[in-house]
Symmetry: C2
Subunit: 186 residues, 2 copies
């Protein structure tokens, strides 16, 4: 008996908190401004999530979930030559509307370098790509368990994303990816 619980509230808050973090970043995140932007209170944030740490963990999980959904919507459509597939992945990952995800991704990585113990499953963000990329580029992989090809491809993509987010030089980074695509397609 008693008043029924409202789990939807936590979900709504989580969704809006994820929007907020994607827009404002992780580093300076603070409960009071966050609560104000979400039309709630620090009191309720802690009531729903227990602590700031757990809230951040929930937000990062939600952000990963959203990214995975977008990836699933995109990657299966990839066909054509190695160059076309590679350009497709780059176009998708470097698209302007993915910039908040990319920024959060780099932010979490940097934070994990300083506090490795707080982000124990960060290696998965790297290795999760192996199977997907191996399927997409099976024709140039050395075998079904090839990890080197996906490692190199993602290194190029991440390295160029690093460059692009710093210099905003779209033309030069696009050209560099084309050069790599040529090399990879023999």
């Amino acid at each position: 008996m008693g008043r029924p619980a409202d789990p939807a509230r936590r979900e709504r808050t989580l969704a809006r908190a994820t929007d907020y973090v994607l827009a404002h970043g992780l580093a300076g995140l603070s409960l009071r401004p966050l609560a104000a932007a979400l039309d709630t209170s620090p009191r309720m944030l802690l009531y729903d999530f227990g602590s700031k740490q757990e809230l951040v963990a929930a937000v990062l999980a939600e952000a990963r979930r959203r990214g995975a959904v977008r990836l699933a919507e995109h990657l299966p459509a990839e066909t054509g030559s190695v160059q076309e597939r590679l350009r497709g992945i780059w176009a998708w990952m470097s698209a302007d509307d993915r910039a908040p995800f990319v920024r959060l991704f780099f932010e979490v990585h940097a934070e994990g370098l300083v506090h490795p113990e707080a982000y124990p499953d960060q290696g998965e963000a790297i290795t999760d790509w192996f199977s997907t990329l191996n399927a997409t580029f099976h024709d140039i992989a050395t075998g079904p368990d090839d990890t080197v090809t996906p490692t190199l491809i993602m290194a190029v993509v991440r390295g160029l994303l690093f460059d692009l987010t710093t210099t905003a030089d779209r033309h030069r980074t696009d050209q560099a990816l084309d050069r790599f695509a040529e090399l990879l397609g023999q």
Copy 2:
């Protein structure tokens, strides 16, 4: 007249503060713990540097200076095939004793993504490599002003550094660089 100034004190403090930041990172930097570790006081840090922001700027400049010195000591010795030169650069940048620099580098990049206005000259950290790398890899560059080849090479290095600092998988990242070196050397 009066007591003579002691500019050496600021230099000593700057050197030790740079050590501290390289060891502990930029994100959680705070004057009181820093001062305690440096056997000085927040009062003196502000006396010497004016504000925390200026202190951080001085520390980052000093860290860049140290990195440039090490680079100058290393790169001129690069000869041999494209593969050998590329492996040399990778070996140098991914060496364990450079990890603090790499970490700080990623940290500053992430911070710059959230507060672009506070790090106005960050693009130079990317473009500064062009002339040096063009000299080192002149035989595969498309011309004296080729920016695409250095962009791709540094993207691979940074992307693999990203991977290596996250997964600590030295073998796989080394192999990926070798694969790239093969592709680049025809």
